[in-house]
């Protein structure tokens, strides 16, 4: 798993590449935690671009849930961009589909998260 971080219109976009399995989730958690910690109250806007993530296991999903909770606590927002079929069904199975903001285009995501 590789993560590239960029900013766009006040939103921090994490472009993740590769499966998120095993110990990858610890690495991802560290990166996300840093981003949240360095944002001021109400400013944490995180967009996880999963276009190049073919698969995620339950620990990966746990990291996304943890990120959701931390961001909520800081009155920020977190969005999931470009979910593939398998990660989408993972989220459906875990009954988290109504919890996460999901987007299929970056422009749309940025616009929505800045509203």
């Amino acid at each position: 798993m590789n993560v590239n971080i960029r900013e766009r219109d006040g939103v921090t976009i994490l472009d993740i590449q590769g499966k998120i399995i095993g110990s990858d989730s610890l690495d991802l958690k560290r990166i996300i935690d840093e981003q949240i910690a360095s944002s001021a109250e109400g400013e944490a806007k995180l967009l996880l671009n999963l276009a190049k993530v073919p698969m995620m296991d339950s620990s990966g999903l746990g990291v996304v849930v943890a990120a959701y909770t931390s961001v909520q606590r800081k009155k920020g927002r977190i969005g999931l961009l470009n979910l593939g079929k398998s990660i989408n069904s993972l989220i459906v199975m875990a009954k988290l589909i109504t919890i996460f903001e999901r987007y299929n285009s970056e422009d749309e995501a940025i616009a929505a998260m800045n509203k």
Partner: protein
């Protein structure tokens, strides 16, 4: 492909080696020509089972090993995962779909194994997991 055979893999308890397991499963489901959805479900179940064996069973102790057997037949793939830990009670695991657990950061592994595979059986006090996926 021939009628029925067994592939075995044995890993020390090091989470970074989950990628070795992942690649073996990927080749086997490809060779067996599982459909994409089923292939992904098998892949997920094996990763969850391997992670549990290494983390919870063997507690990342490099001297303890995780054992994987892949029984390939024309109709199905049967996977056996064993660890050298203290075991646990698989029926005593919290339901991750219970509203109070929905935002929990863990506890979804066994649930995902059960929904991904067609048959799931724990034995030897949770140290042995047998799971079947039909084609």
């Amino acid at each position: 492909m021939p009628e029925e055979f067994v592939i075995k893999l044995e890993l020390p308890s090091e989470m970074q080696l989950i990628y070795v397991l992942d690649s073996v499963v990927a080749e086997i489901v490809k060779e067996m020509q599982f459909e994409e959805d089923a292939a992904e479900q098998v892949n997920l179940a094996v990763i969850e089972a391997g992670t549990n064996a290494i983390r919870h069973g063997n507690k990342n102790n490099l001297h303890k090993r995780a054992y994987f057997e892949f029984h390939v037949s024309n109709e199905c793939l049967t996977i056996v995962v064993r660890d050298e830990g203290e075991g646990f009670d698989p029926d005593d695991v919290a339901d991750p779909l219970d509203p109070e657990n929905l935002l929990s950061t863990g506890g979804r592994g066994i649930f995902l194994i059960r929904v991904s595979m067609d048959e799931v059986t724990f034995s030897d006090h949770g140290r042995k997991l047998t799971m079947v996926k039909y084609k």
